[in-house]
């Protein structure tokens, strides 16, 4: 299985094939519903956002709290289509990778093509397994959102399947 390093670069994205199984390693961001809404509201009204989207990959997850001695709690993917209303705007601002579960809307698929980005799926309901592939985790924005805060994660050999590019 091919190993892909994060942050993603377009030269690598163009070598990926739909349905290809890969292992991702490197830094990424997490964000789900509430964080997406807040990011999009800020971008639409021209306010600054607390993260740089350029070249980033967002993993749609809201981790469970970590036990003492663990890096993170269970952290499987959540349903990606709930982020669909916000995704084209985030892609426009430089996002190039997404990881989640489930199908995306037609508009999102078109936007992924337009911005030469990639959408991976990973294994929903395997949060405990996936937590072992996370090597570091830190809340970097929107702490008040609790499990919906934006985390910086570093993953190693994180299983993913190319769903759209």
């Amino acid at each position: 299985m091919r190993k892909i390093f994060l942050p993603l670069v377009r030269n690598v994205i163009k070598t990926l094939k739909p349905g290809e199984m890969v292992l991702l390693s490197g830094p990424l961001l997490t964000a789900r519903d509430a964080a997406h809404k807040r990011l999009a509201d800020s971008l639409k009204s021209g306010r600054k956002i607390p993260i740089l989207l350029k070249g980033e990959t967002i993993y749609y997850t809201g981790p469970a709290p970590k036990r003492i001695g663990e890096v993170i709690g269970s952290c499987g993917p959540t349903t990606s289509s709930r982020m669909d209303p916000f995704t084209p705007l985030l892609l426009k601002h430089g996002l190039i990778g997404m990881i989640g579960k489930g199908e995306r809307s037609k508009e999102v698929i078109l936007a992924i093509k337009k911005y030469k980005a990639v959408y991976f799926i990973t294994i929903g309901g395997a949060g405990a397994y996936l937590s072992e592939r996370v090597k570091s985790a830190k809340v970097i924005a929107y702490k008040d959102l609790g499990p919906e805060a934006i985390y910086r994660l570093t993953v190693q050999d994180f299983p993913a399947i190319v769903e759209a590019l």
């Binding site: 269970s74 349903t79 579960k101 405990a128 397994y129």
Partner: protein, 280 residues
């Protein structure tokens, strides 16, 4: 004979049940997943099923939640009419839930107002259904219902004269439409009859039945088998990668209904179906 118990016993039982449900995959689900793995012919689906099975082992060993979406807490109480609970039963159930989510390091996923959406940070309130039965015992069933699959629920009020094939098609179409979102392979709960709300309640309660068992009514068991075949013919497969198994089972519960109606509800439950029960 009248029996008295302290509400603390209810609290501790509810706590233990939610911890068990969230960290230890139901044995019937696990065996069914292992069987599906054995019968899987697609390499990709096999790879996914291997991870799902490994996930259950890791969760159990490390006491981690099987899935980070530890759900909304739904509690079903069958209370014997000769049982007296000292203290507040409702408070005991909610305290049990809050304790489980705190001690288990489970995610708090409940927002207080559905429109304002501020997290309660306790995973409370739970949803409690009660039924009064004979005897002096209490049966407690808990479900930690994740919303990936809850969002794929469907209800339709059929005409009483609609053919059974229409109902089968409605179920299969709903599973098809949900695709990979509810984390297949799924367990499909179906409620038929009653009122709109009764059918929905039955569809959720249906997933407590262990996989492999069938409805005791032959015509309903036949319907379960037929729907399962139709759904697996969709070949959505584990997490949507294609494959032989889209659903592990179909469980139908029925209730008498009105001459003018035929309510049908579908509650899809993911491969990490988390329920537990006990009687005290």
């Amino acid at each position: 004979m009248i029996r008295t118990i302290d509400s603390k016993l209810i609290r501790d039982t509810v706590k233990d049940l939610f911890i068990k449900a969230n960290t230890s995959l139901r044995p019937d689900i696990l065996s069914s997943l292992r069987l599906a793995r054995k019968n899987e012919t697609s390499a990709k689906a096999g790879y996914v099923l291997d991870i799902i099975i490994k996930n259950a082992a890791i969760a159990k060993k490390k006491m981690l939640p099987i899935c980070q979406d530890t759900g909304m807490a739904v509690v079903y109480l069958k209370i014997g009419q000769s049982l007296i609970v000292k203290g507040s039963l409702k408070k005991a159930v909610n305290e049990g839930v809050a304790l489980a989510y705190k001690k288990g390091y489970f995610r708090n996923s409940i927002v207080k107002d559905p429109l304002i959406r501020k997290n309660t940070n306790t995973n409370l309130p739970s949803i409690i259904y009660t039924e009064i039965v004979r005897g002096n015992k209490i049966n407690i069933k808990v479900a930690a219902k994740g919303f990936g699959c809850e969002n794929a629920s469907k209800t339709r009020m059929f005409r009483p004269t609609d053919p059974l094939s229409e109902i089968e098609r409605f179920i299969a179409d709903s599973v098809k439409e949900a695709g990979s979102i509810p984390c297949p392979p799924v367990y499909i709960g179906i409620g038929i009859g009653g009122t709109l709300d009764k059918a929905v309640a039955l569809s959720k309660e249906a997933i407590f039945r262990p996989l492999g068992k069938t409805n005791k009514d032959r015509h309903i068991a036949k319907l379960e088998k037929s729907v399962l075949k139709k759904v697996n013919n969709l070949r959505i497969g584990p997490i949507g990668v294609g494959g032989n198994v889209t659903a592990l089972g179909v469980s139908v519960l029925t209730y008498p209904t009105h001459i003018a109606g035929l309510p049908v509800a579908i509650n899809i439950s993911c491969h990490a179906t988390r329920t537990a029960e006990t009687t005290i």
